[in-house]
């Protein structure tokens, strides 16, 4: 029956197309990573292998102040973002999941809106907010962190709610039946069950923050608030050295390691299907 099911004749054409697509989607990035290890100054002509653009004395990610500071600022924002968005999002997810009745639908819609709002609209809105309403905060690190938290919050809520749905209320009810006080029901039953989702959502928040560009750019103030993404935007068309490829590579490794870690944690405690769902944000 599987032979009959295929309407395209042999699926070989489809297999070739899929293979071609995957090569097309990944190969350019692999080449860019390759040139991060170029021994010369070119990003287009291979001149031998070296790690000088990562750790060399001059102009490397490690020693060039502009590159090092951009990486540092990117990580600083990511840490703030995770530290605020995770607890805020977990609480909002719990509240939304348990709070039935008036208002919960509206709040749910409000929570989902940032996910479908084009980033430039959020960037403009937050820029005007910090210029016109919160002039005291102004543009810069605080504003950038607040902006990133505002849309990573929704990712955290979506992931944690997904897990809440799959846990169901049974475990807490059992604990209640066995006489556990409400505090224990929460801290000794629900929270441990939620832990993998909390770790995964923190990782997604971290990766989202690191790779964010528009909101971070709109809320930046001066050179000290430049992130890696902003650096890539501003110097990609100039005549930069492979150090730009090197910093992009470092950025990518941090993102992928964070997500791989989260995937493994989630899979260990919550099962493969749910973990895949989180990785694709299809929760």
């Amino acid at each position: 029956m599987s032979v009959l099911r295929n309407p395209w004749g042999k699926p070989r054409f489809l297999a070739v197309m899929t293979g071609g697509y995957i090569i097309w989607s990944v190969l350019p990035v692999l080449i860019a990573i390759g040139f991060a290890f170029n021994d010369g100054r070119s990003r287009t002509t291979w001149q031998g292998f070296s790690t000088r653009w990562f750790t060399g004395e001059t102009g490397s990610v490690l020693h060039d102040p502009a590159l090092r500071d951009a990486l540092g600022h990117t990580l600083l924002l990511a840490v703030i973002c995770v530290a605020v968005a995770t607890p805020l999002g977990v609480a909002l997810a719990l509240g939304l999941q348990r709070w039935r009745g008036r208002g919960s639908g509206t709040v749910n819609g409000l929570m989902l809106l940032p996910l479908v709002t084009p980033e430039i609209v959020m960037g403009v809105a937050l820029l005007l907010l910090f210029l016109q309403v919160f002039g005291g905060i102004g543009l810069g690190t605080d504003a950038q962190a607040i902006g990133q938290i505002t849309f990573t919050l929704s990712y955290v809520v979506v992931i944690v709610r997904g897990r809440l749905v799959s846990i169901g209320p049974e475990f807490e009810e059992a604990a209640a039946d066995l006489g556990a006080p409400r505090r224990d029901q929460f801290f000794r039953v629900l929270l441990p069950l939620l832990a993998p989702a909390i770790v995964a959502s923190a990782a997604v928040a971290f990766a989202t923050s690191i790779d964010d560009f528009v909101v971070t750019q709109y809320l930046s103030s001066d050179a000290s608030t430049t992130t890696v993404s902003m650096l890539l935007y501003s110097s990609a068309r100039g005549a930069p050295t492979p150090a730009l490829n090197a910093i992009a590579t470092v950025n990518l490794m941090i993102t992928l390691l964070t997500l791989a870690f989260a995937y493994l944690v989630y899979r260990r405690f919550a099962g493969r299907d749910e973990a895949t769902a989180v990785a694709t944000l299809e929760v």
């Binding site: 295929n6 995957i22 989607s25 990944v26 805020l88 509240g95 709070w99 980033e119 299809e282």
Partner: protein, 305 residues
Amino acid sequence: MSGSRWTWRLVALPGVAWLSVFFLVAFYTVLAVAFGNQDTLSQPVPHWNPLDWNVGYVSEMLDNFWHGGPFWTVSLRTIQFVALAVLLSLLIGYPVAYFTAMHAGRWKGAILLALILPLWINYLMRMLAWINLLAPDGVGSDVLHSVGIEDLFLSIGLLDEPGGWLNGQPVTVILALLYGYIPFFILPLFVAIDRIDRRQIDAARDLGASPASAFFRVTLPLSWAGILAGAVLIALPMFGDYYTADLVSASTQTNMIGNQIDEFMRQGSEKVTGAALTLLLSTFLLALMFYYLRTTRRAGTAAEV
């Protein structure tokens, strides 16, 4: 944990407050600025009270649209770019999603991983990769030259000069948008095709449908929701994109609405005009989304019946 109704509202409160201030108030600020005024230094003077709203800037913008002014040109170009990028995403993405869902067999997990991977690679790094490749002495330019694609594009007028891929070429912007957003299109489509009950296709075949008609009359309609979801998912951010055109074209000849807004808001000092344009863009996208939600809801009810 049962708890009173108020406990859970209290738990949700900080998050709700956060979103209210930094999303709702922020968006209201766009309204107040767009319907406000500007001072002598062209800095915005927001009008917070809707009764004081000054529709001047927004109606000027609308006027410009209706009478074929620069904003009309840019909007039309944006719609063309986005439509072409979405269409190409469908033509390339459907076979890939279909193969992965239906025929990948034991490779399914590995292919899925490869399909997810680009989602987690920084968008700007993916653009940087193409800038390296398409530079006049880049590997990609060489390949396009030697396989004859460069000559082909030159002869049909899609490329202005040999090696000039990154100099204000609409085709480069469209292909860059395609490259940037197609992974977000394929995944929901894959999920939709993967959920199709194979027995329905088998039933169609058993009842005498040819493979092609089984595909066009069963598989394709059943994956329609996924196509639509993927198209909306990539069209929304594409309409607000400015960095793709900036990076791979760097010319005002390929400006999209996003570029126009960016020029007003961040580079220039016409924030009121920028806010008015942002407002119009948001309204358009909101309408698009409502249309999408209505269609899917209708499709959902039809399927239940």
